[in-house]
């Protein structure tokens, strides 16, 4: 067996006649940080949804550690959405500890010393994302950046094999975004995570990832725009990227935006 953690083999996704993604072939090793960019509607989010298990491919195979991926969300894959991924009715600490409660209690609620233990572990992860000071607050009392920190802590307590980020910082201020970048890179390094991140910010994609994917259509039929789907048109090891390819990609993205 190879050491590829995730394999996409000839994956295609369509809704009826509407072809979204075609001919997706890729292999990802444990510990890689993939950033995905593309114009809106290019299928990068659909790709992430297939990886997450809330959409299934129309044809082809998606393998996680050699096994077909479970077609519904599972503990192997953590997720942080742009919004709504924390529980508004629980405090920060409870939001993280609830994963332990799901794990250890049939009804999903722990009592006594077990509950205390879960809350203590939750605090450890809150410390890791720099949110310990707000542990007893409710999510609505947190800023957008703090809510995303919480969502990350929730995902990390499960030690997922893959962490999926769906435009996690899209709604944040630039200053806060810089802080979040640093946090994600620190966590990625410390816990050896495999990360897939969708972003619409090319610069963010270049800065964060070890590998940058661009989703775009290679074939166009002007009379039937949905005839062909997108595929991965660039697969760059970002460490070695020069300015030229940055501009090349930027141009292809802005062209797409102009024609969209």
């Amino acid at each position: 067996m190879s050491n590829d953690q995730i394999t996409f083999h000839r994956v295609e996704k369509s809704y009826g006649d509407n072809l979204i993604l075609e001919n997706i072939n890729c292999k990802v090793k444990q510990g890689e940080f993939i950033t995905m960019v593309g114009a809106s509607g290019c299928g990068k989010s659909t790709f992430l949804k297939m990886l997450l298990g809330i959409e299934s491919q129309s044809s082809g195979d998606i393998l996680l550690e050699g096994q077909p991926i479970v077609p519904e969300p599972s503990e192997e894959r953590g997720i942080v959405f742009q919004r709504y991924s924390v529980f508004p009715h629980l405090t920060v600490k409870q939001n993280v500890a609830i994963a332990k409660e799901f794990e250890q209690s049939l009804i999903g609620r722990l009592f006594g010393s077990k509950r205390k233990q879960a809350l203590e572990e939750a605090e450890k992860w809150l410390d890791a994302v720099g949110l310990l000071h707000a542990k007893d607050k409710y999510p609505h009392e947190l800023s957008g950046g703090m809510q995303q920190r919480l969502a990350i802590a929730q995902a990390l307590i499960k030690h997922p094999k893959v962490l999926l980020l769906d435009e996690p910082f899209g709604a944040l201020d630039p200053g806060i975004r810089k802080e979040m970048h640093k946090l994600v890179l620190d966590l990625w390094e410390k816990y050896q995570l495999t990360i897939f991140m969708v972003t619409h910010d090319l610069e963010e994609g270049f800065y964060l990832g070890t590998r940058l994917w661009v989703f775009d259509k290679v074939r166009h039929d002007p009379h039937a725009p949905n005839r062909y789907g997108s595929t991965i048109t660039f697969d760059l090891p970002v460490g070695q990227t020069d300015n030229k390819s940055y501009h090349e990609i930027e141009q292809s993205l802005s062209l797409n935006v102009a024609t969209a």
């Binding site: 969300p73 009715h89 799901f102 995902a155």
Partner: protein
């Protein structure tokens, strides 16, 4: 000058503006009452304040000559008992069915059509059926309230459950939760404050059915008393009873909203 849509009253002005209609109605009533009494001292339609006082005193603070009970309080207790029993049963049924049908699509597909069909039956049309099935006792009155408001509660809570962002359900699944755990820890706690909202909306309907049932077959109760003394044109009893029912309805609503704010602070902060 600011546009009218941008002018906001200060707190004291808002209170004053709010009180004016009440005062106007009272003044209008008093004026009409005095007028009618001047024409015919025995007029029963718009009793004077002293007549109200003596009616209230007779019903609320003097034991009934026939039974030795204080009729007003007896009526209040039995009406509230029926109302609360009906509303609580309806809330329990509405919560359970609404939550389960909203959370589990297979059960939703199974039960939603029948719930919709039942909700279209006018409850008053089957009141005779209830009297025949459950007798003329307490049960049939409580059942009318239950049948009257449960379909609304089920459908409302079904929708509220559906409205919870799917991101949260996905998140819970990635945290390892099974369906039951998601219902118990993610959906149920978030639907509870919405149940209180729905109850506040349905309380008015519950009163309607309660008074209708009491008017037709009862031996005590606020609605029963109103319809009983109607025969004697006793406006001096009817009007205080109506005001009292309004006040009780207000108190129940106030209790619900305040309990909700206290128990579910996160819900009211987000809104």
């Amino acid at each position: 000058m600011k546009r009218w849509i941008n002018k906001r009253p200060s707190r004291s002005l808002a209170v004053a503006l709010g009180i004016i209609p009440f005062l106007l109605i009272m003044a209008l009533y008093q004026w009409e009452s005095v007028n009618r009494k001047a024409e015919n001292p025995n007029d029963k339609l718009l009793p004077s304040v002293s007549e109200f006082q003596s009616a209230i005193d007779r019903l609320a603070f003097t034991p009934s000559k026939r039974t030795g009970e204080y009729l007003f309080w007896q009526d209040t207790v039995s009406s509230l008992k029926r109302l609360l029993m009906g509303v609580l049963c309806a809330a329990a049924i509405g919560l359970i069915i609404g939550l389960i049908t909203g959370a589990i699509p297979l059960i939703g597909a199974n039960l939603n059509p029948i719930v919709t069909a039942i909700s279209l039956i006018p409850p008053m049309a089957i009141l005779p059926l209830l009297f025949i099935t459950f007798g003329l006792g307490e049960l049939s009155k409580v059942m009318l309230i239950i049948i009257g408001i449960t379909p609304f509660l089920i459908r409302d809570l079904y929708q509220r459950t559906k409205d919870i962002p799917s991101e949260q359900l996905v998140k819970a699944q990635t945290l390892g939760a099974n369906s039951f755990q998601i219902i118990n820890r993610v959906l149920l706690p978030q639907v509870l404050p919405r149940l209180i909202d729905a109850l506040r909306l349905s309380l008015g309907t519950a009163w309607l059915f309660l008074i209708a049932a009491e008017a037709i077959a009862a031996t005590e109760g606020l609605g029963y008393r109103i319809f009983l003394v109607r025969r004697y044109l006793s406006m001096d009893v009817i009007l205080p009873y109506v005001v009292w029912i309004t006040f009780l309805a207000f108190i129940l609503d106030w209790l619900l909203i305040n309990a909700s704010k206290k128990v579910f602070p996160w819900y009211h902060a987000v809104k």
